[in-house]
C-alpha cells in the first residue's frame, strides 16, 4: 500500500515537472503582458514535432534537440508578440482572449492538416530503462525530463532575479505604469516574456518526446493543466505555478492509481472547481484580478 502510494507520488512529481515548464510560461506571460495564452499547449505540441522530425530524419536525440526547439520557439514568441499580441493590448478583454484562442485553433488544425492525426513516437535507448530504488521504479526518460525541467526553471529564476532584463520583467509585472516611467521599454520586455515562455513550452515538448506520443491535440491537456496550476498558484506567480504544477501532477497520478485509469483529469477539474469555490485568489492568497 505504502509502496503503491510512494510510486504514484513519484510518477506524479516526474510528470509535474513538465507541467511546471508549461504553467511557468503561462503565468510569466500573464504576469508581464497581462494576457492569457490559450495557445501555450500548442507550442508544446510544436516542440514535440520538432524533436520528432529531428529524431526521425537526422537521428538527433529528443533531449539534445532542445537546442533547436527552444531557440525556434523563442523567436516564434518574439514574432507573435511583435506582430499579433501588441496590436490587441488594451483595456478590452475580448480581442486578447480570442486572438490567442484563434492562434491555438490555427496551430492545432494546421498540425492536423500537415501531420495527420497519427500518433508519433520516438524510441530512444533509454526509453525503457528504469532505476529500481527499493521497491520503487523510476523511469530514466522521465527522470531526465524532470531534472532538466527543474534546471530550466531554476535558470529562469536566476534570470528574473539577477539580470537587468529579468528585473525589468518583474518590475513590469508588479506595476506596469511605474516600470514604464522608469524607462523600461514595454514591447521589448513583452517580446522577451513571450519568447521565454514559448521556449519553455518547446523544451517541455522535447523532454516529453522519449516517453510520450506527439499528435495534434496533445497540447490541449497541457494548456488545461497549466491554467489550473496558474489559478492554484496565484495568477502571475512563478514559484506558485511551479509548486502547483507538481501538486497537480501528484493529484492526477493519485487519481489514476486509486480512482481509475481515466479519472486523472476529473481530479484536476475537481481541484480547479474547489479552488474557485474556496480560494479563488489561489492557494497562496495573492491577488486575483
Amino acid at each position: 500500500m505504502w509502496e503503491t502510494l510512494a510510486q504514484a507520488v513519484i510518477n506524479g512529481l516526474l510528470i509535474g515537472g513538465i507541467y511546471a515548464l508549461v504553467s511557468i510560461g503561462v503565468t510569466l506571460i500573464f504576469g508581464v503582458v497581462k494576457i492569457v495564452n490559450f495557445a501555450q499547449g500548442e507550442f508544446v505540441m510544436i516542440g514535440m514535432y520538432i524533436s520528432f522530425f529531428l529524431s526521425s530524419q537526422f537521428g538527433v536525440d529528443p533531449i539534445v534537440s532542445l537546442v533547436v526547439s527552444m531557440p525556434v520557439l523563442f523567436v516564434a514568441g518574439v514574432l507573435i508578440q511583435h506582430f499579433l499580441i501588441r496590436r490587441v493590448l488594451g483595456p478590452n478583454d475580448m480581442p486578447q482572449i480570442f486572438l490567442t484562442f484563434a492562434l491555438s485553433l490555427l496551430l492545432l488544425n494546421l498540425a492536423l492538416m500537415l501531420f495527420t492525426a497519427n500518433y508519433r513516437t520516438v524510441h530512444t535507448s533509454y526509453s525503457d530503462e528504469a532505476f529500481h530504488l527499493g521497491g520503487l521504479y523510476i523511469p530514466v526518460a522521465k527522470l531526465i525530463a524532470f531534472v532538466v525541467a527543474m534546471g530550466l526553471s531554476g535558470a529562469l529564476w536566476i534570470f528574473l532575479h539577477t539580470t537587468d532584463l529579468g528585473k525589468a520583467m518583474r518590475a513590469a509585472s508588479q506595476n506596469r505604469d511605474v516600470a514604464m516611467l522608469m524607462g523600461i521599454n514595454p514591447n521589448r520586455v513583452f517580446c522577451v516574456a513571450l519568447g521565454v515562455a514559448l521556449a519553455l513550452a518547446g523544451a517541455a515538448g522535447s523532454l516529453l518526446m522519449p516517453f510520450y506520443s506527439a499528435y495534434p491535440f496533445v497540447g490541449q491537456v497541457f494548456t488545461l493543466m497549466a491554467f489550473v496550476a496558474v489559478v492554484l498558484g496565484g495568477l502571475g506567480n512563478v514559484m506558485g505555478a511551479l509548486v502547483a504544477s507538481l501538486m497537480m501532477g501528484v493529484a492526477e497520478s493519485l487519481g489514476i492509481q486509486f480512482v481509475g485509469a481515466d479519472s486523472g483529469l476529473i481530479v484536476v477539474f475537481a481541484m480547479l472547481l474547489l479552488t474557485l469555490a474556496f480560494r479563488p485568489t489561489g492557494l497562496g492568497g495573492g491577488k486575483a484580478r
Binding site: D93, M94, F98, L108, M113, P216, F227, V228
Partner: protein
Amino acid sequence: MIVTRNLLWLALGLAILIALPLVVKSSFAVDIFIRILLFSFIGVAWNLMGGYAKQLSLGHAAYFGLGAYTSTILQIDFGVSPWIGMVAGGVVAMLASLPIGWLCFRLRGPYFTIATIATAQALMLIFLKFRDFAWGAEGTTIPNLGSAPLMMQFEGKAAYYYVVLGLLVSGLTITWLIERSWMGYYLVAIGEDEDAAEAIGVNAPRIKRDIYMISSFLTALAGTFYTQYIYFIDPATAFSFNISIEAALVSIVGGIGTLWGPVIGTVLLETTSALLQSWLGGSVGGIQLTVYSLILMAIILWRPTGLIGVATEAYRRFASRRPARA
C-alpha cells in the same frame, strides 16, 4: 416611417425563409440551411451573455449537452415526448447554470473563460464515466419512429427546418426585447466596465446570473433539437468543445453584442465551410477550423466590430457621399 420599413423588410425576409424549403428540394442544401439556422440560434443564445455583457464563455457546450441528454433520457427511459423534454432540458440547464455561474463568476476576464471551459469538460467526463446513467462513451441512437411529429420526428428535412427556424425567430425576439429593456442597458454597462456599472447601482452579480440562465436555457433547446435531428447522442458530440467555439465564433465574426451579428457570422462561416467541403470533398481534416481561425484572427486584428461593423461603415461612407436630402 423607419419602423414600418424595417418591419416590411423583416416580413419579406421571413417570407423568403419560409418559402425556401418549398423551392429548394435538395436535401444537401436544406441540411446546410438547417445548420446555419441552428448555429445562428446557438450564437444568439451565446451572444446574450457573451456579447452584451461581455462574459466570454467557452463552455456553452455544457448546456447544449444537458439539453440533449435531458430530453433523450426522458424519451428513451420514460417515453416523454422531446417537445416536453426540450423545455425540461432548458430548465435543467437553467438550474445547472446557477452553481456553475456561482463558481465561474468569481473570476473575471480570461480566467472566467477558462473556468467555463473546465466546467463543460468536467460535465463531458461525468457523462463518459457513468455508463448506467447515460450510456457512457458509446452513446445511443434515438429510436426511429418514422413520421411522428408529436415525438419531434419528421419525414424529410423541411419540417426540421421549420422547427429550428422557429427557435431562431424566438431567440431573436427575446434578444430584441432584452436589448430594449432596462436589462439590456444594464448588460451593456456591465460589458463596458463592470466596476463602473456597480458603482452606479447596477446589481452586476444578479444581472449576470439572470442572463446566464436565459442563455443556458436557449442553448439547451438547441441541444435537444440537434439530437432529434441526427438521431444519435454521445458525450463527445453533445458536449463537443466545437459547439462552445462555434457559439462564440459566429457572434464575434458577425458582430459581438448586436442583434443580427450571430446570424450574419453563421451565414459566412457555414457557407465557407460548405464550399470547402464540396471543393475538397472533406478529405483534409482540420481545414474547416483552420479557415475559421484565420477569419477570426483577421476580424480581431482589423475589424473588432465584426461584419456588422464593416457593413455599417461601408453604408455610412456610401450615404455621406450622396448629397443630403432637402
